[in-house]
């Protein structure tokens, strides 16, 4: 048996709401290997962010827990860096300073000033933001902000990189660029990554495994698809690739045929005393 890098061990998550307890996740169970790229896909509101937040330590699982390299996760920390959907850079700091804040916090004791400066610049260069280091978030585009957000996360040298719809707010072209960059970085650094996405193509293109989640309440992992496409992957070549299209088809089928949200299904999956928060779920899948 191989050593478990990251173990999401029978995680259940309940939220207290004014209308009673809402069971968001039930028995989510997933083991992730070192250097693996895993994406989470599922309909809006099913609980993807909740899974990510539990791994990040921002939420505490009601049952079960997360073990990273043999240690239980119970608070947030820089070994599990998060890239948030809307960049969440500090608007009063430049790109450089934003990354610096993280680097100082993580390497303040082990690196000297020059080494830190080099490290910050190295990470900004990695995401192709070296030329706009000293600009503030308001002065750069959405894609550039997201790049800086990724640089900040990478600069912490995390054991796991958590990304919550990192490219969700970007236009299609910028998104494609960012995916290329991410694959490049991944080839170089071989990070362990969990990424949430709504984009089936993105999931297939980037992932080693695609984790498909059932609809909430009490969402859990419905199916796991192993993507065995050779790297480096090229989106243009893959467009006609039979295997690629097979994977795409599998994900689409899961989302639209097996997890299609209907009024009837909602009624069935709703537990007693639970609010019907999910009555209007719009599948946002591209």
């Amino acid at each position: 048996m191989s050593f478990e890098h990251l173990n999401i061990d029978h995680v259940s998550m309940e939220f207290p709401t004014p209308k009673g307890v809402y069971v968001a996740l039930e028995n989510v169970n997933l083991v992730i290997e070192k250097g693996e790229f895993v994406s989470l896909i599922g309909h809006s509101g099913c609980g993807k962010s909740t899974v990510l937040n539990v791994v990040a330590g921002l939420h505490q699982a009601t049952k079960g827990g997360v073990v990273l390299d043999g240690k239980e996760v119970n608070e947030p920390g820089p070994d599990r860096a998060v890239v948030f959907q809307n960049h969440s850079l500090l608007p009063w700091l430049t790109s450089y300073q934003n990354v610096e804040l993280a680097v100082k916090q993580v390497f303040g004791k082990t690196k000297n000033k020059n080494e830190m400066k080099e490290w910050i610049e190295h990470n900004l260069a990695l995401v192709h933001m070296g030329y706009a280091m000293h600009k503030r978030p308001e002065e750069i585009s959405g894609g550039m902000k997201q790049r800086v957000g990724i640089a900040r996360a990478l600069a912490m040298q995390p054991k796991v990189l958590l990304m919550d719809e990192p490219f969700g707010a970007l236009d299609a072209l910028t998104r494609a660029h960012m995916q290329e960059s991410l694959m490049e970085i991944q080839a170089e650094l071989n990070n362990t990554v969990i990424m949430i996405t709504h984009d089936v193509d993105e999931a297939v293109l980037l992932s080693d495994r695609i984790v498909m989640m059932t609809n909430g309440p009490a969402a859990t992992i419905g199916e796991i698809l192993k993507v065995e496409l050779e790297r480096p992957r090229n989106r243009v070549e893959l467009a006609d690739d039979a295997k690629y299209n097979y994977y795409r088809h599998k994900v689409l089928e899961f989302l639209y045929e097996r997890q299609h949200v209907t009024g009837e299904k909602q009624a069935v999956s709703k537990k007693e005393g639970k609010s019907s928060q999910l009555n209007v779920v719009n599948p946002r899948v591209a």
Partner: protein, 321 residues
């Protein structure tokens, strides 16, 4: 030469410039006209209500009085020095007396007193309100605990605080050699009590409505409590804090004038009250000069805060009015 400067000015720009200058000018002339005409209709026990021309005359009177008073003061010190020098010449060990001049406070002295007082009260208020605002903004429980007290104290009029503050200051602030006069302390504390609430509330709201993601960033980085406040909470709520500070300062200025009037504390308020009691034919004109000065200073204080806000707030896009 000039042509090159004006070359880039289009007729559109010119129109905009003329409008920016002309419209306020027209409004001002209408205002003065209406004032002048209606003042002539009002007879008070102190004579006719002064129009703009009378007020202007009183303003220059006040200025002349100020200059005269300064001259008197200079003369007083010159005489005293001369006297002492003579004494020392006669006997090197002679005891010399140095007294400070105690002339009547002029209009301009009163302005300075008022400014110093409002500034003191405002500073104390900010030093109390911003930390409390941050702490209450960070903790939901504390916010709920403190909110009723704040809401209860916020609308209390300065006139209600004043007697209490006066009594407390008289009872507590007893020293043989007071560094500050009691009236100054009383006015400043009254200002503090009335003007701290907008800063407190705005700071608390600014902190509690902070972007949740930024909070999460701080958690993921495991920033310490102080670092979190200094690096994330304070800058992100700076625009709201400044909104509060501006409100506080303008309330403080209004409150101060009322407090000085009621408590006979030195300052512009006392000047107005004295003129009212004085009841000469010039009094109304002088009071109107004071009113205009109060308005102008209030306006300038607000502009100063705005400049500070522009300087210290990262959010340059925020609407600043």
């Amino acid at each position: 030469m000039y042509a090159s400067v004006f070359k880039n000015i289009t007729s559109e720009d010119l129109k905009a410039m003329i409008r920016a200058l002309l419209l306020p000018l027209i409004a001002m002339s209408i205002f003065l006209g209406v004032w002048s005409a209606s003042a002539a209709q009002v007879q008070t026990s102190l004579g006719q209500l002064p129009g703009p021309a009378d007020v202007y005359k009183q303003a220059s009177n006040l200025y002349d009085e100020h200059i005269a008073e300064r001259d008197k003061e200079a003369a007083f010190y010159a005489r005293q020095e001369e006297r002492n020098a003579k004494k020392l010449e006669a006997n090197a060990d002679a005891e010399i007396k140095v007294r400070s001049y105690t002339g009547k406070a002029t209009f301009f002295d009163q302005i300075i007193t008022s400014l110093i007082t409002v500034f003191t009260g405002f500073m104390i208020a900010s030093l109390i309100a911003i930390p409390i605002g941050i702490v209450t903004g960070l903790s939901n429980g504390l916010y709920q605990a403190i909110n009723p007290i704040v809401q209860l104290l916020k609308p209390v009029s300065p006139l209600a605080w004043l007697p209490i503050v006066t009594m407390i200051v008289s009872a507590v602030y007893v020293t043989d050699d007071p560094m500050f006069s009691k009236s100054y302390v009383t006015s400043a504390i009254t200002v503090t009590l009335c003007c701290m609430w907008p800063t407190l509330i705005n700071t608390a709201v600014g902190v509690s409505t902070m972007d949740k993601d930024l909070n999460n960033v701080s958690k993921v980085l495991r920033l310490g409590w102080l670092t979190n406040i200094y690096k994330i909470v304070l800058p992100s709520s700076m625009p709201m804090i400044f909104t509060g500070l501006r409100l506080s300062l303008s309330i403080g200025w209004m409150v101060l004038i009322a407090a000085e009037m009621l408590a006979q504390n030195p300052g512009l308020g006392k000047f107005v009250w004295d003129e009212f009691q004085n009841g000469s034919s010039n009094s109304l004109g002088r009071i109107i000069v004071a009113v205009i000065a109060i308005g102008l200073i209030g306006f300038m204080l607000d502009r100063t805060m705005l400049l500070l806000q522009r300087r210290f707030s990262w959010d340059k896009t925020a609407v600043l009015r």
